[in-house]
């Protein structure tokens, strides 16, 4: 089984914060920490398939959620993932008061700046967790 840290976004469809979560996670697993991290389809986890559960059962996970429903964190935990960090996208926006990040379809420059910031922070966490083994 892969020991890579699982970075799982909610990818929420209704709000820009879901897109920010998705893009931040993709940046971590594809660009910043491709050797130390990977993602899993949250939709696959939601199906409850045994094969899907086996992808994250007992694995260290970092979840990213765009709204207080915390879908990524809840679903990862239900499937047996060890959620070590629950990132709330909205918290990052508190540092960018008045920012206009875009929509659930596309991001503005300000939106991409927040994506890069969140991705950088998660990459640091991934590296720390990888070192812990």
């Amino acid at each position: 089984m892969s020991e890579r840290i699982k970075v799982i976004p909610c990818s929420g469809m209704g709000k820009v914060y879901g897109l920010v979560a998705r893009e931040s996670a993709l940046k971590v697993v594809q660009e910043l920490c491709p050797q130390e991290s990977s993602t899993v389809c949250l939709a696959y986890i939601v199906t409850g398939d045994q094969e899907a559960k086996e992808l994250i059962e007992g694995q260290k996970c970092i979840t990213l959620d765009g709204c207080p429903a915390m879908c990524a964190a809840k679903n990862a935990e239900l499937a047996g993932g060890v959620v070590t960090e629950k990132v709330r996208v909205i918290d990052s926006f508190r540092k960018h008061k008045g920012a206009k990040p875009g929509t659930a379809t596309d991001l503005t420059e300000e939106g991409w700046l927040v994506v890069d910031e969140i991705a950088g922070e998660i990459a640091e966490k991934v590296k720390l967790l990888s070192k812990e083994g």
Binding site: I8, M13, G14, G18, L42, C71, T105
Partner: protein
């Protein structure tokens, strides 16, 4: 109730692990933003588990079309497991090819004209199914005496957040 207030749910897998998931997400957003903004609603698939009774009632409240990025059909299966039977199902890999659909997921930062063409192809198919499902739902309501011809607003996110 006006038949113009009948809405159709479009539920995307929005999968993070393959290109098909990205295309499913973008096609669903296009339905909400541009193609049928007044009659399309959506919901975040993971809310079926993380949410409550209201979220799980989505497919009972709205006739629903699932849009899946690959043949695992997570959006269709999860919707039917937790909420209700879908009225139509789209598998993106039927339109862009299995191999392409299962390629690495794509950041929208890296979208090319080729990817946009894939989105258009899927949107065309969703639109055909959407109009069929919408007409059937409208006919059904009128036949039951629950709706009449008239005007009414608006589509958006089905979780109640009010966002389109």
């Amino acid at each position: 109730m006006s038949i113009n207030m009948v809405k159709v749910g479009v539920v995307s897998c929005s999968g993070e692990d393959c290109l098909g998931g990205t295309i499913s997400r973008l096609a669903t957003r296009k339905m909400l933003d541009e193609i049928r903004p007044d009659t399309t609603v959506t919901i975040c698939l993971p809310l079926f588990l993380a949410g409550g009774v209201e979220e799980r009632g989505f497919a009972e409240k709205f006739p629903t079309i699932s849009v899946d990025g690959c043949s695992k059909a997570c959006a269709k299966r999860a919707t039917e497991k937790y909420s209700g039977k879908v009225s139509a199902a789209i598998d993106v890999s039927d339109f862009i090819g299995k191999e392409v659909a299962e390629a690495e997921a794509l950041s929208i930062r890296n979208l090319t004209d080729e990817h946009s063409a894939m989105v258009e192809k899927v949107v065309s198919e969703i639109t055909v199914k959407f109009d069929e499902v919408l007409r059937a739902a409208q006919r059904d309501l009128v036949a039951k005496g629950l709706a009449m011809v008239g005007s009414g607003p608006s589509g958006g996110c089905g979780c109640g957040c009010g966002t389109k």
